[in-house]
């Protein structure tokens, strides 16, 4: 019952006027960001993180959490109205959402998406509230070897489950880690990797510089290129009667919603997976278990409900490892984790002990954010449709401007601004060649933590590397991580062998 006492404390924090205001404001901003084609939660959180220095850390994370939530709701809006996913997490929503809009059922699709998001969000927050404290309790026993093993596992999931080009994924992880090593060596205090003796490198490369570069500048360059063509906004009329009718129609989709919510939540916990694969998997399963699989892709409500409940559940799921273990479950939570370091909080299980108000304030605010996102979403559908008509050539310079100021503000150095621009342009050019960017962002956030825990372990064990494997917990995690890393290699070898066998004439 301790959980309920904590949660009650959390609600007291979340309902302070400032925090409640930030939840509502954050949801609205998140919905807007999510609704805009090309921008998703990760872009919104990266670009707006520097703006949160105005308020205390608890309010800041509440605001960013609300943006995260709102963006998950908002992604569906452009998927349905434009047929362009508002964020990668809403790709699966276009499959049936767009056909529904074309048939004049846009309002039905929008309401289904909003309600499914709400159900997914609610179920996942309850799961989160129940799971987080015991997990944090277990994690309290973790020392540096376990921490390091967990980080290896986080990177291993990208290689084992990522599915992208493996050498490029691995490259992305390494370059992120190397960039995190720039600055002063954490053990000896000696400067390292100071290019051209530029003083700007001494304080290291701030993760925000990379995050805003890639998710701000790089993403916008990407969107500028793909949004050249004209897009058509569907019409939607929203009246109270139609909302009620739409809600009644959703009765038959409850099973799909529940499936999407649970699936999304557990997929969201995995570092490499997150909301995008979670929603695609939920769509696939909904289609498989449906009595009428042929109607999918032609405007089946279940096809909207499944991915939308899953992506909201996944966004909450990805916060579980972030808060309890200090390992982010998605690029967005990687940025939130980096934010915690900037705000002076030590990520990891100790958060639950030392900063209980921060953790429970955030958890309680997610309940509130979920409700407000639903209300704002349904209440302001016409406003969001108007937003979609806003020309991109007005939004783009505004967002570029935000990136430039946001890139400068945390460290107040022009050096970082130039780095951000370089990262953005190079990141965009690499992304065009299928280099995944999320592992690099995760790596630059986790890099200093990983290096410190590794070297602390080795100093403690007098340079004995077996320390990582003989401790039961870290040993198990390490073995799982190694299996994940070598899984693709085994597949490659197997394919080669099979290839050779098929070539040899019988």
């Amino acid at each position: 019952m301790e959980i309920f006492a904590h949660l009650a404390d959390g609600f007291l924090i979340a309902f302070e006027p400032l925090n409640l205001g930030l939840v509502v404001f954050g949801c609205a901003v998140g919905l807007f960001i999510g609704a805009m084609p090309g921008l998703g939660s990760v872009n919104g959180v990266a670009i707006l993180l520097p703006m949160t220095f105005l308020v205390p850390p608890t309010s800041a994370i509440i605001f960013l959490g609300a943006i995260y939530y709102g963006a998950m709701y908002g992604g569906a809006i452009s998927s349905i109205m434009l047929g362009i996913p508002g964020a990668s997490t809403a790709v699966a929503t276009t499959f049936d959402g767009r056909p529904m809009a074309m048939q004049g059922r846009a309002d039905e699709a929008l309401i289904a998406a909003a309600v499914a998001s709400f159900v997914g969000g609610s179920i996942s927050i309850v799961l989160f509230t129940l799971f987080a404290p015991p997990l944090a309790e277990v994690a309290l026993a973790f020392g540096p070897p376990e921490e390091f093993a967990l980080m290896v596992l986080a990177f291993a999931t990208f290689i084992g489950l990522g599915g992208d080009d493996i050498p490029k994924t691995f490259f992305s992880i390494c370059i992120g880690l190397v960039m995190s090593a720039v600055g002063l060596d954490i053990v000896s205090g000696e400067p390292r990797l100071i290019f051209g003796d530029l003083p700007g490198f001494f304080h290291g490369i701030n993760f925000l510089v990379l995050a805003i570069g890639i998710y701000g500048i790089g993403e916008m360059l990407w969107t500028v290129e793909i949004s050249k063509g004209e897009v058509m906004v569907s019409q939607a009329t929203v009246t109270l009667a139609r909302v009620v009718a739409g809600l009644k129609n959703l009765k038959g989709t409850i099973k799909t919603m529940l499936m999407g919510s649970f699936l999304g939540y557990f997929v969201g916990i995995l570092p490499a997976a997150g909301a995008t694969p979670g929603s695609l998997m939920a769509y696939g399963i909904a289609k498989t278990i449906s009595k009428d699989p042929d109607s999918f892709g032609k405007g089946n409500v279940d096809g909207v409900v499944a991915p939308e409940s899953a992506n909201n559940a996944a966004s909450t799921g990805s916060m579980l490892p972030m808060l309890t273990l200090g390992i982010p479950g998605s690029p967005t939570t990687a940025i939130l984790l980096g934010g915690m370091v900037i705000w002076g909080l030590e990520p990891g299980p100790l958060l639950f002990v030392n900063h209980a108000d921060f953790v429970w304030g955030l958890i309680a605010s997610l309940y509130a954010a979920n409700l407000f996102a639903l209300l704002i979403n349904i209440g302001f559908i016409p406003v969001f449709i108007w937003v979609l008509r806003l020309p991109f050539t007005i939004l783009a310079p505004l967002i570029f401007g935000l990136c430039v100021i946001g890139g400068y503000a945390p460290t107040r150095s022009m050096h970082d601004l130039w780095l951000m621009l370089i990262f953005g342009v190079v990141g965009y050019l690499m992304r065009k060649l299928d280099y995944p960017m999320a592992p690099a962002v995760l790596a630059i956030v986790l890099g200093p933590l990983a290096e410190r825990s590794m070297r602390q372990t080795l100093i403690g064990s007098h340079g004995d590397i077996t320390e990582f494997f003989v401790r039961p917990i870290s040993g198990t995690i390490m073995v799982v991580a190694l299996i994940l890393i070598f899984l693709p290699l085994v597949n490659v070898l197997r394919n080669m062998v099979r290839h050779r066998i098929s070539k040899t004439p019988l």
């Binding site: 390494c174 053990v187 360059l221 050249k228 050539t393 310079p397 570029f400 100021i405 022009m414």
Partner: protein, 165 residues
């Protein structure tokens, strides 16, 4: 696309070598009883980067990765022009911040973008280009107490500092 894939892999391989060379400024070996030296972490990671680049090049030769098989242009002329304009004007804006500060440089960029690339009316362009610096001044300088770079326009802000700070 094929050429771009190879060029990027080679460029990144060279970058990895540079990082490896730079890491050797600190001990990269194993210090007995203490573990790896300060340069070991970046050195071996850069070495791994180099290996990845070699793998990417091998896959390019084998035509194993999608971009190495693609016959599409990396950027068609229209996309290249747009990229050059946007990235170029961004670079010019950041460069100009050093000289005339963010409050002049940013609106100039916005005017260029909205007018030249977007073709919007002067009323819209003017409104947004005026509102942005005013809002950012109040948000950053007054509320957040973060001074944004002003370059040679710094003296113009003295009266404003007197009023608001």
């Amino acid at each position: 696309m094929r050429v771009a894939e190879l060029v990027m892999a080679i460029a990144m391989a060279v970058f990895s070598l540079l990082l490896m060379w730079k890491s050797t400024e600190l001990p990269i070996g194993w210090i007995p009883g203490e573990g790896p030296g300060g340069g070991a972490f970046p050195f071996w990671l850069s070495a791994a980067m180099l290996l990845c680049c070699i793998a990417i090049i091998v896959r390019w030769v084998l035509r194993a990765s999608p971009p190495s098989r693609s016959t599409e242009a990396y950027m068609d002329p229209q996309a290249l022009k747009l990229f050059a304009l946007v990235a170029g004007s961004l670079t010019v804006m950041v460069g100009l911040i050093h000289i005339i500060g963010v409050y002049i440089s940013l609106p100039l960029f916005m005017i260029f973008y909205m007018r030249v690339l977007g073709g919007h009316s002067w009323k819209t362009v003017g409104g947004i280009a005026t509102a942005t610096p005013v809002v950012s001044f109040f948000f950053f300088e007054i509320a957040l107490k973060i001074e944004l770079p002003k370059g040679m326009t710094e003296p113009l802000f003295y009266p404003l500092y007197d009023i608001f700070m």
